[in-house]
Assembly symmetry: C2
Homo-oligomer: 189 residues x 2
């Protein structure tokens, strides 16, 4: 992949996160990337294609970073399920935390059965799958149910931190996750 193409995607991610998708024009993305519009349209047929490329890249890098970070929080699946929320807190504390790009995208593109919506849905499903794997390894009752609940807690902490500008939402979610995990492992003991 060419460097210019990569630069455009990186710039697009930054600007879209900060100002929303409709709030950033193609001219600005090209300008900030240090590239002409011609070059931009050489790599992407349309703004929507650039958006999709940005989402796809975010999907890939975020999940990769997220999983690595979660796995660094402990060696047992149980520790890692809770570690999710410590990783989240670090994410929320970033100077440039603008919430989840995929949630923000759905806020602007509500029409169902579009490529953008599909990308967002897919991202969330994959995060859920990862949590479910951890839950299965942790040997909880009904790992699917537990994973869905933990995913909801993660989403809730994310938007709460975003709107209220308070990264500690992650710890509140973590405490709830602990109670949930206790309840889901008690029977197995």
């Amino acid at each position: 992949m060419s460097k210019k193409r990569q630069q455009l995607i990186d710039t697009a991610i930054e600007l879209f996160n900060e100002h929303g998708f409709h709030g950033v024009g193609i001219d600005r993305i090209a300008e900030v990337s240090g590239v002409t519009k011609k070059t931009l349209y050489h790599h992407f047929r349309s703004k929507e294609e650039l958006i999709l490329a940005a989402l796809k890249q975010k999907d890939s890098t975020f999940r990769n970073d997220f999983m690595r970070a979660v796995e660094a929080t402990g060696n047992t699946p149980h520790q890692r399920l809770l570690g999710i929320f410590d990783v989240a807190q670090a994410w929320f504390s970033d100077q440039k935390f603008y919430g989840c790009m995929f949630i923000n995208a759905v806020g602007e593109y509500s029409e169902p059965d579009t490529a953008i919506r599909a990308a967002c849905k897919s991202f969330k499903q994959q995060i859920l799958s990862y949590i479910q794997e951890l839950a299965e390894q942790a040997d909880v009752d009904d790992p699917r149910r537990v994973a869905v609940a933990l995913a909801i807690l993660l989403e809730g902490a994310t938007v709460t931190a975003q709107v209220s500008q308070n990264p500690e939402a992650a710890q509140a979610a973590r405490q709830t996750a602990e109670i949930l995990l206790n309840a889901a492992t008690r029977k197995a003991a």
Copy 2:
């Protein structure tokens, strides 16, 4: 308040929810409202003022409807705390459910210390206050903590339902809320 003004706000809420704030122009809002731009600018000094008026109205009507609906789910504070999620599920099931307008707004306007951000933050704080009141009435341990956790569950269910187009996220959140409330009332028993 004039009818035209009200019509403009109602139209703005609908269109902003569907296409985002940057995704809808003043011309379109005026046109759909059956009103000229002159009239629009007679009632609102700028697009941002219209956005703020729309947010303010949504804040008022949503919280009002929400509280009434929650109180209709049961007579005890405990029932009502859980009723939150039944009310949420009904909301998510609406044909025209586009997620929480305030979350969506923050996704487009990230700059802190702006009127729009303040409106969103305020809305969330007021919802939290309401939940906290119910928690206090329900005589749980640490009602603040419980309320924060329930608010996070509600936010999480909202965005999950929005992105995944699955209103049942509300029931998953409700089940987690039940576990949380059990844990928070056990000691008091």
